[in-house]
Subunit: 341 residues, 2 copies
DNA sequence: TTTGGCACTCGAACCGGGTGAGTGCCAGGC
DNA sequence: GCCTGGCACTCACCCGGTTCGAGTGCCAAA
């Protein structure tokens, strides 16, 4: 195993490299950090670290830079999560407090996160699968045409047009609306299907067709919306990347536009369960275009359970403690805001 | 005034430069285009064009590139709008036909436009100011808590929470809902305020407070939503720009995130009236970050009147005829889709 | 007015030596 | 056994000089 000092050397390398963006050599290291040993010793340690695959040199006679594996060790064992300053906390709070509706919360969050971390921010809309139903409304637009409106406890609204096989009377419609609501309000989306299963049977035969159509549309909406939306911001920060631009930045921009890819990315992060923070470094990201980036993601939600994820995408050479701190703090405040509304 | 041939030379310069991205010289011009004159003559013409400010040379002993003024002349007098191939038309149609709701239409449109023009696409959500009301719904969530749902003829849905000063009975609520709808359905947003002005008076005194609250929330929603949303796509295409990246691309990405700026940009374009296509070249764009880009925008709508704009942002060195053709074609199809739904 | 010729300009590409940061290795000291 | 100072070596990078060539402007002749 690696000795304490070697780990210290690795930490110093990561910190310096993140700060300067330049390969760091043994001499510079001993000057900037109080390691208590000479450059020569550091060189020996570096040789070991390199052999173990934690650092690498871009070319002979250049300093060392951390590898993905090196960052991984750094994140797992050498660095904590840096808490934000109280000024930053206040800024977050006042920035988010002004939000008027869900869209506004999300768009403010993404801007905030981008600004705070100076990286690309990604915020997923609260998922419907874990949400509960606040209300279901049925509007009659034309004799055989309805509009279904679904309102969730996270303030999200989904609507669908429904063309019924036969016209619906006002009375059975009101009846359906009432029964539907009494059954599903406050329940989770996942539970809805079986709760409404037997509903058509209790209606007059002539209305059953319409009822079934409505129900299937409702169920469809629930399923479809599991495919979720997300918002991205701060892409201009990508230009702070390397100086070898087009090659680096292009695939990242492409990946960012593939919302499906990002959702999968965040989704995987979710496996780590609940609100836990996930850090995926470089090649740990399945998507090729993101092989030179790291993703820091965390769940957020109005209660104890995560309803969605948010995070940032940045160069593998990023300030992990600071980024993790900012991401976590923002997630918490967003959770609070959602719980209040 | 410029002779016919000089204009021809300018056109050739623009075409070549757009194609090759390199300054074009007199010799290359005569080789690629049948101008019927020698390089020396072309040189003389170029000297004149330069003096008039239509072209410039990056440095002595380099070829010429068009200036913003040159592109302007090209767009206004030398180039038409290139119609799309029938294959492209079919592609557009089949791509857009699969859309299920408004969000889907918009997101498909932006992807389509980005792909077609290989540039950054911007699509504004249909504006509410020109829209008409399809339905207003009031839901009682708690005794003194209502939800207002507003549905537009473009399929958009807006919702607002309302906390009433006093609880609302079921009967007056249904009454309000009915009267509200009978007055505003099918009317334009702009006309709504005066249509509902006298509504509180016809209610019992105890309910008037609630009615007023509902109405003011409704009017607020109408006004607020004049501040419009837009969707952007194809930012990865920015990397095809110059090779002098960070300098060029950064301010553009920043500008693209400032939705307010973009909306103003599209808004200005709107002045040119109705469905007309607008091309803003380089420094014609008020926003500094977009000084090296051109914006091609056009209105689209479900009827004869434009309800919103869409367009692309690309380098001033772009294929104007092709871009304009694509933008116009997409706008038309989107209009059709909106009219159908 | 057009054209061929010619001298001139100047960026891009290529070359070669000097510089210095950084390395690996080794022998000696604690 | 680990740390340290010393030393030779390696290369990327910088810098100045040179060449190359596309492109220009001007001029005299058709």
């Amino acid at each position: 195993m690696l000795s304490e000092r070697r780990l210290e050397v690795l930490r110093a390398i990561v910190q310096d490299y993140v700060g300067t963006e330049e390969p760091v050599g043994s001499k510079a290291l001993t000057e900037r950090h109080r390691l208590g040993v000479s450059p020569a010793t550091v060189r020996n340690d570096m040789a070991v670290l390199e052999e173990e695959g934690f650092i690498a040199q871009p070319h002979t006679s250049a300093g060392r830079i951390p590898t993905d594996k090196g960052y991984r060790l750094f994140v797992d064992r050498l660095a904590g999560v840096k808490p934000l300053s109280s000024a930053e906390r206040r800024a977050i709070q006042s920035f988010l407090d002004g939000a008027v509706d869900l869209d506004d919360v999300v768009s403010r969050t993404v801007r905030l996160l981008a600004q705070l971390t100076r990286q690309v921010a990604v915020v997923q809309y609260p998922s419907l699968t874990r949400s509960t139903v606040r209300h279901v409304e049925l509007l009659s637009l034309a004799p055989a045409r309805l509009m279904l409106v679904l309102i969730t406890d996270t303030g999200r609204v989904e609507q669908r047009m429904i063309d019924c096989p036969a016209p619906f009377g006002e009375v059975p419609l009101a009846d359906l609306r009432a029964r539907l609501n009494s059954r599903v309000v406050g329940r989770r989306f996942a539970d809805v299907p079986q709760l409404v299963q037997d509903l058509p049977e209790s209606f007059d035969p002539e209305d059953r067709g319409g009822v079934s159509t409505v129900l299937s549309t409702l169920l469809e909406t629930l399923v479809e919306e599991t495919e979720e939306r997300l918002v991205i911001g701060g892409t201009a920060n990508l230009t702070r990347f390397g100086h070898d631009f087009p090659l680096t930045i292009r695939p990242v921009l492409e990946a960012l536009e593939e919302h499906v890819v990002l959702l999968k990315l965040l989704g995987e992060a979710k496996e780590s369960g609940g609100m836990g923070m996930t850090v995926r470094i470089g090649h740990e990201n399945a998507h090729e275009g993101l092989n030179s980036t790291s993703v820091v993601a965390v769940g957020y939600g109005s209660g104890d359970e995560a309803v969605a994820k948010l995070g940032v995408v940045g160069p593998t050479r990023m300030d992990y403690p600071g980024t993790m701190g900012a991401v976590r703090a923002v997630a918490r405040y967003v959770g609070q805001i959602l719980a209040e509304s």
